[in-house]
Symmetry: C2
Subunit: 230 residues, 2 copies
DNA sequence: ACATTTACATATTGCATGCAATGTAAAATG
DNA sequence: CATTTTACATTGCATGCAATATGTAAATGT
């Protein structure tokens, strides 16, 4: 069963739609096409030709909506950022003990990091970064700015999910950075493993135990994420 | 002060050298040039032109030695693999307690993961991977094979460094995979942060504590990597 | 010293690519 | 319904790129 996103080709004329509806649908299809293509075939093979084919539109439509490749990349980064923010903000907080919140948060974050949204973001930032010493034209993805934004989003969600676990700003940043690094690392191995990769549930459980131990040292001894030695 | 690797331009004719010496030097320069270029400017901007300029040879020389781009990439992966194996095999083992060995091993591994060797390897594998559905010409980097090799190397070194910590094959693989993921993740954030990124010593310390706790659960309570809460 | 082999340099070719310019279709407005 | 605006399609151009073909320089063998 093919995994590639298929564009439904309608053989009958579409019923009349508003321009806003047309615009929204076309932009959405183009963004989805780019996200899928980069995740599946890599940044370099995501050509204008491939984008047009996958999105089911011509390059003129892409140009009209986004101006060009850089404009699409910026839009894709924005969409991916929203995907991340949407995922992690789904973490239930009220009346939930620390361990459960940590577990839920890590699971939600992993939904993003294991998705093609993350991979696409990572490839875009990696490829755009190498341009630093080139022309001064507007950067579609100011890498430091995106990372700052990502850290801010992490911090905001973290504080809302763990308002009762505040070991201090510096230490919180460290724990967040560690968490982000583990998730990125698992995502990196997933990228290279491709199809057939298993959910790294043991690794995620170890991460959860680690986070709980760092946030609440006294409660970590009796941790429900503990793994029985086989 | 520029960080780019500079090729020394000799204005006087070199003294006579053997062909083997000439071959070794040229190949070495080309491999170093590609490693540096990919790490600094990204895979896509590492063109034949850039490689020739950086290595101080012409494309004809590159072709003669490597056949083409794919040949260079395969050679660069090999060199990077050796860099990794060299680093981690420097871990002192005899008469060293577990915690010290863990610390040394992680530090040595980080020397590789924080290096341009790792970044170059990662970019090559990421870019080559997207070709899977293209022509059937010989793959310069069979990604699954490289990963299998990497896991084998990890396991060999791991067993030699931790012969007294054998919780079982499955669990060892899990701990190795977690370790590799954390290092990859720290490397991924380093890639995007670029210059000015600090050594993530706290994250590496937490990783060390985690490994010790997983390898020797009973000794982890009095762990010298413990961080005082600020 | 000369012939052969290997290392390297140079010029050219064919292809892929993003984007600009221009034209057409669909929706909105008067 | 006519005009205007916006969405989209088509064509062509300029550039960058890897690789090929061929020639020259350096090292080796006889």
């Amino acid at each position: 069963m093919p995994r590639a996103h298929h564009v439904e080709i309608q053989l009958t004329p579409k019923k009349r739609r508003t321009q806003a509806a047309r615009t929204a649908e076309t932009r959405s299809r183009i963004i989805a096409a780019v996200t899928d293509l980069i995740a599946e075939r890599g940044f370099a093979r995501t050509t204008a030709q491939e984008i047009s084919t996958r999105a089911g539109v011509t390059w003129g439509a892409v140009q009209h909506h986004f101006g060009g490749k850089d404009g699409i990349l910026a839009a894709v980064l924005e969409a991916s950022f929203n995907h991340f923010a949407d995922r992690v903000s789904e973490t239930p907080v009220a009346g939930v003990d620390l361990e459960t919140r940590v577990s839920s948060f890590v699971d939600k974050a992993w939904e993003h990091y294991s998705s093609r949204h993350y991979r696409t973001t990572f490839e875009i930032l990696l490829n755009v970064q190498g341009r630093d010493d080139e022309s001064s034209t507007a950067d579609p993805a100011d890498v430091p700015r995106w990372q700052g934004r990502m850290y801010e989003a992490w911090n905001e969600v973290w504080i809302s999910v763990f308002p009762d676990a505040r070991p201090g700003r510096r230490r919180e940043f460290f724990i967040q950075h560690y968490t982000l690094s583990v998730l990125s690392g698992l995502a990196a191995t997933l990228m290279l493993q491709g199809d057939g990769a298993q959910l790294p549930s043991e690794e995620l459980d170890l991460l959860k135990r680690t986070i709980v131990a760092e946030l609440a040292p006294s409660s970590s001894k009796d941790n429900r994420f503990d793994k029985k030695v086989d």
